[in-house]
Amino acid sequence: MLVAGRRGSLLLALAALLVAALPLFASNYHLQLASTALVAAMFALSLQLVVGGAGMVSLGHAAFFGIGAYAIHLLPAGISIALTLPAAMALAAIAALAVGALSLRTRGFFFLMTTLAFGQMLFFVFHDTPLGGGKDGVFITRPALELFGLAWEIPRRQRAAAMLWINLGLLAAMYVGLALLMRTLFGRALLGIRGNEDRMRALGYDTRTVKLAAFVLAGALAGVAGHCQAMTEAFVTPEMLAWHHGAEALLMILLGGLGALHGPILGAFAYVGLGEASTLITERQRLVEGLVILAVVLALPRGLAGIGRGWRR
């Protein structure tokens, strides 16, 4: 999996600056839209570690996203983000450990179906149960923005901007962290497994453990994304755990580029932007979206990340 080179990284940094500057000129509505894209990018990026990193296609990834979101609902209302975020990660990681330990006994199509089955099971843990609090979702109290006793009180008018910056910061941290991870011995082993798992085993790699570690980390990061969505919208719904939510992230990865770490980020922004643009043009939003995605995927086998030479290693 390619990590953006110097020029690509510069472009990504510029794009991040642009997003950070949005509150200077964009409406609250558009700030919220940007947050939606940032959260989607985090979610797709976390899934990319599993799909593009290790070559495992999972359809149950949304479950970890949803668990991260519900962590806020399950914890006492209004406690610090310094507690809710680690808790969201930990809960999602534990769920991913359980799901991964069982489903990584299978590969390929069977892995896909096993993750789907586990994802659906977790969906029904939160769907219309006392734990989840209703099948239509519940409103939550946003975690307090409090770090080491320093509280950040946000006036209502500036909330969208604050959420945007938090989401942007976490996405940037996630991307840089994963880019660094891909350069480590672990990252290289993961790429080896993606390329030829049997050969890696014959070379002496306990590939299942390596894949499980990637799966758990991806789950934890999906938990961060879910937490951020819940925090941004002050709302959680079982739909966050639904398998088609995970399929949407797969689509973003495909759109942005399966072979590049920054692909999911491009894909998420393109996907959210496309959804927004098509609602302006037509009522048959999904149809337009589908056609455009199909066209991009067919015309650009490497996705949006494959455009231009600046993205080469």
């Binding site: 480590t184 011995l185 672990f186 082993a189 390329g195 085993r201 002496g204 570690a213």
Partner: protein, 247 residues
């Protein structure tokens, strides 16, 4: 010293017994060739020894330890390097990265996971060493998929050599090479046998009789004959069963 021993190794595929109570020992400093016609069970034997397949019966001892139920990766770590009959490596990666991944496998555990691969001196040095040993250092940066067939076979051997395994299992490393290419590789195998227990699967009789210290002849999964090359060459049974219609 016996590095690897197989005792009564048997493997059935449904009604077919691909390997039928085969016993053999491999010692460091010795090149042990296994020959036999197509379908004799040679690759199956290698896969049993390496752990790719589980035996239906029999035991495998690696350095005196029973490893029969060990998964392939664990045996590899304990000192088995192998190459495949059909070239099997990471074609999208450079020759160097292939060798480096092979080298990196040593002691690859959570404690080492987060090291920078580009600065991990141990695996970089080992990768360079094995590429040098097979004469591929000059092609280190080439993407494996672009290497010639002969170079790929050498890269397979290089990967097997990483981390100095006691046992080398090479399944037809010379397959598909012309005489000019295979001659230096024969010399390389001879050289490797000095500090490894080397099991060589090979079809070319001239090569086998030139390099092997001991030869096992397999037919229909069974060991037909076992001995030094001169004895095998003289054996009437071997000539009938194999050399006759093989060559």
């Amino acid at each position: 010293m016996t590095a690897l021993a197989a005792e009564g190794l048997t493997r059935r595929f449904g009604g077919l017994t691909a390997v039928d109570s085969v016993s053999l020992t491999l010692s460091v400093g010795e090149l042990h060739a296994v020959i036999g016609p197509n379908g004799a069970g040679k690759s199956t034997l290698v896969n049993l020894l390496a752990g790719e397949l589980r035996p239906s019966a029999g035991r495998i001892l690696l350095g005196g330890e029973d490893v029969t139920t060990w998964p392939t990766w664990r045996r590899a770590r304990r000192g088995i390097g192998r190459s495949f009959q059909r070239t099997n490596l990471l074609r999208d990666m450079s020759a160097h990265e292939n060798a480096r991944l092979a080298a990196q496998a040593a002691a690859f555990g959570p404690g080492r996971w987060l090291r920078d691969a580009g600065r991990d001196a141990a695996s970089l040095a080992e990768a360079a060493r094995v590429l040098e040993r097979v004469g591929l250092l000059g092609r280190a940066d080439a993407v494996a998929g672009t290497l010639s067939h002969g170079e790929l076979r050498l890269l397979e051997i290089a990967m097997a050599l990483a981390n100095r395994p006691a046992v080398l299992l090479l399944d037809e490393p010379l397959a598909g090479m012309g005489p000019e290419e295979s001659e230096p590789v024969g010399a390389l195998l001879r050289d490797l046998a000095r500090d490894h227990a080397l099991l060589l699967i090979e079809h070319d009789m001239d090569v086998v009789f030139a390099v092997a210290d001991r030869v096992t002849v397999m037919v229909d999964g069974r060991v037909l004959e076992h001995g030094v090359p001169t004895a095998i060459r003289a054996s009437a049974a071997v000539r009938d069963a194999y050399l006759g219609h093989g060559a």
